[in-house]
Amino acid sequence: MDNKQLEDFIKSIDQDLEVRIGKQFTEVIVPPAKLYSLARQLRENEEAQFDFMFNLSGVDYGHDLGVVYHLRSTVHNHSIVLKTRTSDRENPQIDSLAGIWETANLHEREVYDLLGIRFTNHPDLRRLFLDSSWGFPLRKDYVDDINIVTK
């Protein structure tokens, strides 16, 4: 499917989802509550078959914390981007997709470690690089006077 067909496909799953056609990928803005069911459908639908998650990144947008998922289908060779964000900075929670794509397991641990986003139903959510005495360094409001040189 090309980007336009993907847009129609997403609309046929859920009319309310916001779809943008970006420079490279079709981007779907999905609220955290709908993320898991949409991801499941994208993985299992015969026409879509997004079986390969090639990137997962956590982003601090200032007010919101978000996660960006890059998916590809090894069968149909098309790609899509899912974006979800939450405005809760104290206790951000997003559903884990590790049950759908195994590779999400390590990626989500990394995002939890560096941005503090908790992934519900993750099989093994522990810090990855840093120990628990650290804050969440990839957040924009993270301050470390000793180790970070700011200009």
Partner: protein, 374 residues
């Protein structure tokens, strides 16, 4: 560092927890594996990483795009050229800069030389991990020649920083073409020796065939890329699927197997060395004339938006995801490094095999730890 190692609860009495690493020669760096053993059989592996976590993604947020190159060198230091290329391609794509053919061809040759030396080092250390000390000397002897070629042109042996947004740091050295051709002539003779000493060795075959098989479905689900995935039959070569630089002008085969065991992961890299040499031979006599760099603005600012660029490093797909807010520093940089993703499959592969097989399996995934930690 205070850290609790969570021991997997088990009903079976005779389970040992063995700490392999971080200072263990076969982990090729500072990777720590907490291995649960029953007798000699691996029950579970918990990888612990982060010993050389430098926060490269955080650092990128406070530096400019041309400066990022000097950090990407230090991620996967055996694929420094390809790592640099990912940043350059992304910046050039965002600014819609046309790159002359000369630059594209030189970048491709450099990337393939880099892949070749990486696979040589893999061959050398993989042989040594499995008890073949001679392999190490053979591999490093030949790799040294590529590093000398790098040194002559770029000034660096491993940390090369040769690509920069808009082209190359400097033109190639006058000796470059001759030395590359000499090297390929030499290495074509030496490569059969590699097969004689290791590939055909009965002990080596016994220790690798059928060990740690990875099915195609698992390779896809775990997001494995590079030679490790191609050994399981997953066609994932970025050079074929999304050709960049001069890869659309050269003919080479994507090395694919279907077995997916340790032996075929080894063979995939072994055959890629031949493919790399073919690629270089097609280009080395046909480097077009032209400038080695395009003039870029002194301060590079990407238009607001999100960008993604993939390149094929020696270990798999490196994805570079950049969010720009229009300033000279990126807002967010994420490196999807192949080693980090490939680490996720280690437990799945080694479970049920002996601890000696764990060395073979981990070796065949060809980890470079700084790329995992970033």
């Amino acid at each position: 560092m205070e850290e609790k190692v969570e021991i997997i609860a088990t009903d079976e009495k005779q389970e040992f927890i063995v700490n392999m690493g971080p200072q263990h020669p076969s982990t090729h760096g500072v990777l720590r594996l907490v291995v649960s053993l029953q007798g000699e059989t691996v029950k579970n592996i918990q990888p612990h990483i982060g010993y050389i976590h430098r926060g490269i993604e955080k650092m990128c947020e406070s530096i400019t795009y041309p400066q990022i190159i000097h950090l990407t060198d230090r991620m996967d230091y055996l694929s420094a050229h390809q790592n640099n290329e990912s940043v350059c391609l992304l910046v050039e794509k965002a600014l819609e800069v046309d790159i002359p053919d000369r630059i594209k061809v030189i970048r491709t040759i450099m990337s393939e030389l880099s892949r070749l030396q990486s696979h040589q080092l893999f061959w050398a250390t993989f042989g040594m991990d499995l008890g073949g000390q001679t392999c190490y000397f053979y591999g490093l002897r030949d790799r040294e020649m590529i590093l000398d070629i790098f040194e002559e042109t770029t000034g660096g042996r491993m940390i090369v920083s040769y690509n920069c947004p808009g082209g190359l740091m400097y033109d190639i050295h006058p000796n470059f073409q001759k030395r590359v051709k000499d090297f390929i002539k030499y290495f074509r003779k030496k490569l059969p020796e590699y097969d004689t000493i290791l590939t055909g060795n009965v002990i080596f075959r016994e220790r690798t065939s059928g060990i740690g098989p990875l099915t195609l479905q698992d390779a896809i689900s775990y997001g494995i890329t590079g030679p490790s995935a191609r050994a399981s039959g997953l066609s994932c070569d970025v050079r074929k699927h999304e050709p960049y630089s001069a890869y659309d002008k050269v003919k080479f085969n994507e090395v694919l197997f279907s077995e997916g065991d340790t032996y075929h992961r080894y063979m995939a890299r072994n055959d890629e060395m031949r493919q790399s040499m073919n690629t270089i031979e097609q280009l080395i006599d046909n480097i077009p004339e032209g400038p080695y760099a395009v003039k870029m603005k002194p301060v590079i600012k990407l238009p607001e938006g999100e960008y993604f660029q993939r390149v094929e490093t020696a270990r798999g797909e490196l994805g570079l995801f950049v969010i720009s807010d229009g300033n000279k520093n990126p807002y967010r940089v994420k490196f999807r490094s192949p080693n980090f993703v490939n680490l996720g499959v280690l437990n799945h592969l080694a479970k049920g095999f002996k601890i000696a097989d764990l060395i073979a399996i981990a070796g065949s995934l060809d980890f470079v730890i700084p790329d995992m930690d970033r």
